[in-house]
């Protein structure tokens, strides 16, 4: 992959990435009001508007083959969602927030993308259940499809009751896993906008073992080079008043990022995703996708800017 100097990319991705409006996609079982409340710390970084989205998948209202769909089932599901949303909305309205809601029958990913476009949302939040495959509320393929089709940042929030993490402040201590790709560098801009709520960022690069060949000195030289690039990113954060520290890991990106998150006691993993861009990251988008689907940590994926 062609590497682009960080400074050059930083100029190209200088658009502010404030999160003023987030789309909270829920089926209730996996993302509840407690999860939403934990995201309200984003208000300190400019969040003003939350849009609830509940997609009723067609299968849930379909009748037996050839007999159409049950209007009654649709009404029941719609109104059940509506009752929850009214309750949540009252709470947020009383806090001075702006709130909207979509309850739609259709394809999950397609409808989420439509709502995100209509609302010009800055962030899409989706849940990921760790229940059994059959009960899975968001199949991995849905997350993957969403990541590929949207140009909006996506936060994959994890099933709370099965997680050991207290998600009171998910943005307090993120790790930014970077491979220097445009998307992962764009993530820097995104995180800079959260300076009021981030306490410390750990900036991590996972070196390929193949990069580390030759003499001990050659290997250390490589490490030093990587470290210098990480230092440059950390300085960008420090200039914004965000404490940041660099970390070099070696090995399988997926495993090492998870390890780094644990060691740094991170609250969130942040990565660039390849999205719809023409170029291909070293991770081919598979690492962000796998982490989003499998990691215990909430995962924020930033796509590249539309080219």
């Amino acid at each position: 992959m062609r590497r682009i100097p960080i400074g050059t990319l930083r100029q190209k991705t200088k658009h502010a990435m404030k999160i003023k409006k987030l789309l909270f996609v829920t089926k209730f079982e996996e993302l509840g009001f407690d999860a939403l409340q934990s995201l309200l710390s984003l208000r300190e970084a400019g969040l003003e508007h939350v849009v609830f989205v509940n997609i009723i998948e067609r299968e849930r209202v379909a009748m037996r083959r050839g007999t159409g769909y049950s209007k009654e089932a649709e009404i029941r599901l719609r109104e059940t969602a509506n009752i929850r949303f009214i309750d949540w909305a009252e709470n947020l309205f009383e806090q001075g927030m702006e709130v909207g809601a979509y309850i739609v029958v259709g394809n999950l990913v397609g409808e989420v993308i439509k709502a995100a476009q209509k609302e010009e949302a800055d962030l899409i939040v989706v849940g990921r259940s760790q229940k059994g495959v059959i009960e899975q509320l968001y199949a991995g393929s849905d997350i993957t499809e969403l990541l590929h089709r949207t140009s909006k940042p996506v936060l994959v929030y994890k099933y709370l009751s099965e997680s050991s993490f207290a998600l009171e402040k998910p943005f307090e201590s993120p790790i930014l896993a970077t491979d220097w790709s445009p998307a992962s560098l764009r993530a820097i801009d995104f995180l800079k906008e959260l300076k009021g709520i981030i306490q410390k960022i750990h900036v991590v690069h996972v070196a390929d073992q193949k990069q580390l060949s030759g003499s001990a000195m050659a290997i250390q030289k490589t490490r030093k080079k990587i470290r210098a690039k990480l230092d440059e990113i950390c300085q960008t954060f420090e200039a914004e008043g965000i404490s940041a520290s660099p970390h070099v890991y070696v090995g399988d990106p997926e495993q090492e990022i998870e390890k780094a998150a644990r060691e740094c006691q991170a609250t969130l993993i942040v990565m660039g995703s390849s999205g719809k861009a023409n170029w291909v990251e070293r991770w081919l988008g598979s690492t962000p996708r796998n982490i989003a689907e499998k990691s215990d940590y909430p995962t924020l994926l930033i796509p590249p800017e539309k080219l």
């Binding site: 509506n82 949303f85 909305a89 309205f93 001075g96 709130v99 909207g100 809601a101 979509y102």
Partner: protein
């Protein structure tokens, strides 16, 4: 032509219900499906009354209510809030927004919680605009 009443609601069933009540009682209904549309229609048509939902896509009724009540050309238009959101939450939100520095706004002429029956809606409209 009867007095013009603007209905702003994203729910097609509620819109249909409101329009039917309005027509049956001799009013001329205007319809918007979200806050943005509602704002534009209010500016364009200067209705005699607005029936406004709260929880809607794009722009909520809370924001539109404030915009209408602070617009010098529109603030005289009476508004009936018609929503599943409790009146208490609506009033609290307006108070909080005023505390954040937004202009204070008066309370709506009426607040009806969904679902409302046709007679109650018609009577409320009649009481406000005749």
């Amino acid at each position: 032509m009867g007095k013009k009443v603007l209905v702003v609601d994203d729910d097609p069933d509620v819109r249909l219900f409101n329009v039917t009540v309005l027509e049956e009682n001799g009013y001329t209904p205007l319809v918007a499906t979200n806050g943005e549309e509602g704002k534009n229609l209010a500016k364009q048509e200067k209705p005699d009354l607005v029936i406004l939902d709260v929880l809607m896509p794009r722009e909520s009724g809370i924001r539109l209510y404030r915009e209408l009540k602070t617009d010098k050309n529109l603030k005289h238009i009476p508004i009936i809030m018609l929503s599943g959101i409790a009146e208490k939450s609506f009033l609290r939100s307006q108070k909080v927004l005023a505390e954040f520095g937004d202009a204070p706004v008066p309370e709506p002429e009426a607040y009806l919680e969904k679902p409302v029956d046709a007679e109650e809606l018609a009577a409320t409209i009649k009481k406000i605009i005749g």
